[in-house]
């Protein structure tokens, strides 16, 4: 038997994040000491795994790069086989504030899936121009499917409750954009409740999102294709295991 507060698993998919992963792990462990911290090392060629282990995280080393979707799928399967009922996804680049994890988990009392939304008014998140419009259009589409107002559907900061963990352990998509758009569509169509929580983002420690119009258009096209495909796929069923 596991005490209730031990059943939170914080999954941190990481690809070549040796600079920031240790700080993220440390912040997560400080922010929510009862949770287990699992870094999924997605085929990094640097010392990401080593740094994460030294900071006190459990590390799952994938033999080669599977993408965020593949890493999260491994995380959800790990959660299911080790009896964790709540999975929180946090990016390894340090842009998510671990202090908000508790708020996300509290939100799970009335929802199955909580999204930490970047554009919902708290903090300033520097995405402008075409890419922002693309993300807005997607958010409008998703809000319709999820029957709730969502403003940031590509956020990598999410908390999944027991029903969502059960669903995702079987059905988490590993395709491009699968971890964001398709995962939300699968959850919404399986009848899970999705809510968002406005969160402030910290500065990304490395890399800036691109603002090129053509790239934004390509992104929107691919995202819409992924969305359309997710909508016509057979509906995933939530198996109730007792």
């Amino acid at each position: 038997m596991r005490p209730v507060d031990h059943s939170v698993l914080v999954v941190i998919p990481a690809l070549n994040e040796e600079e920031s992963v240790a700080d993220v792990v440390r912040d997560v462990r400080l922010g929510i000491p009862s949770a287990r911290c699992l870094v999924v090392d997605d085929g990094s060629s640097d010392r990401t795994g080593e740094r994460a282990r030294a900071a006190g995280a459990s590390v799952l080393t994938l033999p080669y790069n599977l993408g965020v979707g593949g890493a999260m799928r491994a995380g959800f399967r790990f959660a299911r086989s080790n009896g964790f009922s709540i999975v929180v996804q946090v990016d390894a680049d340090g842009q998510h504030d671990p202090a908000a994890i508790l708020q996300l988990i509290e939100g799970l009392s009335s929802a199955d899936l909580m999204i930490g939304a970047r554009f919902a008014g708290v903090g300033d998140y520097g995405v402008r121009g075409p890419r922002r419009w693309a993300m807005r259009a997607l958010a409008a589409l998703m809000s319709n499917v999820a029957r709730t107002r969502l403003t940031d559907v590509t956020s990598g900061f999410k908390a999944a409750g027991p029903r969502a963990v059960a669903l995702f352990a079987d059905n988490f998509p590993a395709e491009y954009l699968g971890d964001t758009i398709e995962a939300l569509v699968i959850a919404a169509r399986a009848g899970l409740t999705i809510r968002q929580l406005p969160v402030a983002m910290r500065k990304r420690q490395a890399g800036t999102p691109s603002h090129h119009p053509i790239k934004a258009a390509a992104y929107l096209t691919r995202a819409c294709a992924a969305f359309a495909l997710a909508m016509i796929r057979p509906r995933a069923r939530l198996e109730t295991r007792s």
């Binding site: 085929g43 033999p63 080669y64 491009y176 992924a226 016509i232 057979p234």
Partner: protein, 133 residues
């Protein structure tokens, strides 16, 4: 062109598109492998609905017999698809090799662990670190 030929072209193109989308829907065909087939299906649908586009493009490119343009594009698409398969196969082989190596390392590590006489203190470091694909 008789109406029957016109309809036949459209039906064939639509059937091809339906087959591609159905395979993607069931998850039998991954998106990235479907791209060129999808492009081919769309092109044939466009040409079936507006045959003038074919004659116009052939004339613009200086091709005397428009059908030759169709063959050229079709062969080009098939070329791209097989090239993509070749590249994909190479990638899959590399991944398979990485997995086989990983399995061998784990087996070796398990044997070493089983050989130890007394119960161990503290987990040994993961010996597969720095493992390269």
């Amino acid at each position: 062109m008789s109406p029957a030929t016109y309809a036949f072209g459209i039906v064939a193109a639509v059937l091809a598109l339906i087959a591609i989308i159905e395979l993607m829907r069931r998850g039998t065909l991954r998106e990235r492998h479907a791209v060129w087939w999808f492009v081919g299906g769309l092109l044939s649908l466009i040409i079936a609905v507006f045959p003038q586009t074919l004659t116009w493009t052939a004339k613009a490119l200086g091709i005397a017999v428009p059908t030759n343009l169709v063959f050229f594009v079709a062969i080009g698409l098939l070329f791209l698809v097989s090239l993509q398969y070749g590249a994909e196969l190479t990638r899959v082989e590399a991944k398979l090799r990485a997995l086989a190596e990983r399995a061998a390392f784990h087996e070796h590590r398990l044997e070493e662990l089983e050989k130890r006489p007394e119960p161990r203190h503290g987990q040994p470091q993961d010996s597969t670190d720095g493992f390269d694909e």
